[in-house]
Symmetry: C2
Subunit: 446 residues, 2 copies
């Protein structure tokens, strides 16, 4: 008992900034190790909020994410039971024909999960640890990499300060923690917005049942446009339409929406409903998508970035959340390896994890090949590159890579290396560049 009391006294404070998916999960990982965990979140508690802000409604949970959830004992009961298995993709042709493309081996599936529900479950799980405290309505204003002192703005203009032994930045693609990194020398950083935006539309149940077959990831590939649909527990589908911003902007009336759908997604009109389409298309403007890469992920022994704060990815490989959840496992493994000594753990985490997170950011970007850029002198090379891209990304090819990324914990950068054409076309930054200037379509690889 005395030893336990002593340990409690010695406990180090870990501040997790951001109570989104990765922040909440990470709080569980640190709490399980016995740290004094303080979670700080800008927004209110989503479990009490009337309207949950935020974008994507559902997400594809695959092997890496599930493994991370299992580590904190919450894979099955709360999450998997509330997810909908998607055993294959279902390709919708222009004529309305539907063709399934299964995930390589029999029995393999990914799960469509509700983002808000998953986040709520993770927060509740974190709170069950007596050594974890959740602090909502705390907006990070400033922090010191030297002392670990953080300043938060509270509602009504007040401020509060807290000191931590370790600050874990899980505050998303527009991370406030990361701002401090940007001020330091030799921090490499890039943010790349793609010319496509996305818009979510809801397909309601038909006669009390799913309007389409539920256990599929539905895909309408249309060259520069694409729509996908994931099933929800309430028997709706969330459809996500991807297209260049300028195409979104061309459509300004309900008639034009219907005309557009008639041309590209005619089978979806009766499923979503013409009246709903006319209205919902104008509910929110199309949203931007950004790819963020940086290095290193840590400063000294005081701060580390994880999840989207370290590596926001475009959604075309369905790995954003899964990569963020896997960050938590990788960090946890290194904590074991180095006896929780932050001064050794943090550099090792950057060393090990940066190449993998960069690999998945790039893989996701490869699936997005922008069309119609007329950089003429570049065309020759790109036609070749494009061949490689198209061959690689057609879902019937490339099964091995998709398998490794989606159904194993093979390190992302290893999955990239094993990828044949990678031997020829190489380096990620390289391809990122290529993607920006190539001509072609884009595809989904989940």
């Amino acid at each position: 008992m005395e030893e336990s009391a002593l340990r409690r006294e010695d406990k180090k404070v870990v501040a997790v900034v951001g109570a989104g998916l990765v922040g909440a999960l990470n709080a569980c990982f640190f709490a399980k190790r016995g740290f004094e965990v303080e979670v700080f979140e800008t927004r209110e508690d989503i479990r009490k909020a009337k309207v949950v802000k935020g974008r994507s409604i559902n997400l594809a949970l695959s092997h890496r994410g599930r493994t991370a959830l299992k580590h904190v004992g919450m894979e099955d009961k709360q999450i998997v039971s509330k997810g909908i298995p998607m055993n294959a993709r279902m390709i919708h042709s222009l004529s309305g024909k539907q063709s399934p493309i299964p995930y390589g081996k029999k029995g393999q599936y990914i799960l469509s999960v509700d983002r808000a529900n998953l986040n709520k479950e993770l927060l509740t799980a974190a709170e069950t640890y007596p050594n974890t405290k959740l602090n909502f309505d705390h907006k990070l204003q400033d922090w010191s990499a030297e002392t670990g002192l953080m300043t938060f703005a509270r509602p009504h203009g007040s401020k509060t300060q807290t000191q931590a032994d370790l600050i874990v930045g899980c505050d998303g693609a527009f991370s406030a923690v990361r701002k401090q990194f940007l001020r330091r020398s030799r921090f490499n950083y890039s943010q790349t917005y793609i010319p496509h935006g996305y818009m979510e539309l809801t397909m309601r149940p038909r006669n009390g049942e799913f309007a389409m077959k539920p256990n599929y990831l539905h895909i309408w590939p249309r060259n520069t446009f694409m729509m996908i649909a994931l099933p929800n527990l309430d028997k709706t589908f969330t459809c996500t339409l991807f297209m260049p911003f300028e195409e979104f902007e061309k459509i300004s009336t309900g008639d034009e929406v219907i005309e557009f759908f008639q041309k590209y997604f005619p089978d979806a009109i009766p499923l979503i409903g013409a009246a709903t389409l006319r209205r919902d298309y104008f509910r929110l403007p199309a949203q931007a998508m950004v790819s963020v890469k940086c290095s290193p992920y840590h400063i000294g022994d005081k701060c580390v970035l994880m999840g989207d704060a370290a590596h926001a990815v475009v959604p075309f490989y369905g790995q954003g959340m899964n990569a963020g959840f896997e960050d938590c496992i990788v960090f946890d493994e290194i904590m074991n390896q180095f006896n929780e000594d932050f001064s050794a753990v943090l550099p090792e985490y950057s060393r090990v994890r940066v190449p993998d997170d960069h690999a998945i950011a790039d893989l996701a970007m490869y699936n997005y090949v922008e069309k119609n850029r007329k950089i003429k002198s570049f065309v020759h090379f790109f036609l070749k590159l494009l061949d490689a891209l198209i061959n690689s990304f057609h879902p019937s090819a490339n099964i091995d890579q998709v398998f490794q990324v989606t159904f194993t914990r093979t390190r992302y950068h290893v999955a990239v290396e094993r990828w044949h054409w990678q031997d020829k076309v190489i380096n990620r930054g390289l391809l990122l560049g290529a993607v920006g200037a190539a001509a072609g379509g884009f595809y989904l690889l989940i």
Copy 2:
């Protein structure tokens, strides 16, 4: 007279943030057009400062930079007369042999100019316009892209606010103006630090004369290391040593400095002086070099980035200042074209200038090919790419490109396109990636 008075009353206010080289020159351009120009600079007036902080001592002024100076009537008298023509590069071999490599055509030269002197002359030139006011000790804290309202911190903690019709961010690679851009959606940005650092060493006169032939850009190419030397009016040379940070860090005693120079730059030891070397090597730590690219350069009709704030480049093509000065001409040309209507000028400036500034950032980076990165699976492709790089960058090849970049105003992106192997290896982002992972040496292209 009445009309002139009226015009004066209507005058728009242009705030130039940053009184470095590009800011001071830009102030002249805007003042010449009759705008009410306010220049804001964080530091004190360098013309009054006892110690001028800042890094590089001298710079290579070439055609683009000179053309911009000519636009505001100050090329010859103040600047060219105080620069030292460099008619050729002078390559120093390990054995001490010196071999000149002239700039393509006879009579072509670039000028070694003193950065501090050039900056002072530009500030004085800007101040001769009655419609220009220089405000030193003004550190930009915040500004609004909607209203043009800026808040500056003054010494001793006070603050001051000013409103402008146009804010021109010329505040360098770590631009405070740019921070506001980073918060906006669809702003693409990257900062890439290269693994090399640089250190400046002074070579004093010998018997009252230059220690080496003055009218040359002296270069000691040593694969992953490189030293260059540019002449100064006071008959000194400023030597700049480039090498990977970890190599700099290996040297911790005076003996090790001498040992290192004996191995790589033996002919420089008597020229710099062993005692000076032993001391000066430890005066300042090696400095980092960053390449910054972003897009677009403007927000609405209120703000535009120019110079290093928009495109910091690595120094291996000697085009940093020249590109920044050319920015001023390009903006000026577009101002003519669109009748000083900022709402038309700013988007056009981004459209026209981004590809050129990205091209020169990439060209400068291509000259820097990092050695010794052992990414084995990538080697095959890179050996080929490297061939292309080495062939292209050897100064005896590639004369046409160097000529266009250094001695003409051919648009940078056109110089890139005309470059033969570019047809094969393509896109800049691509090469930037390549450069990061390739094996080879690096070279200077000025």
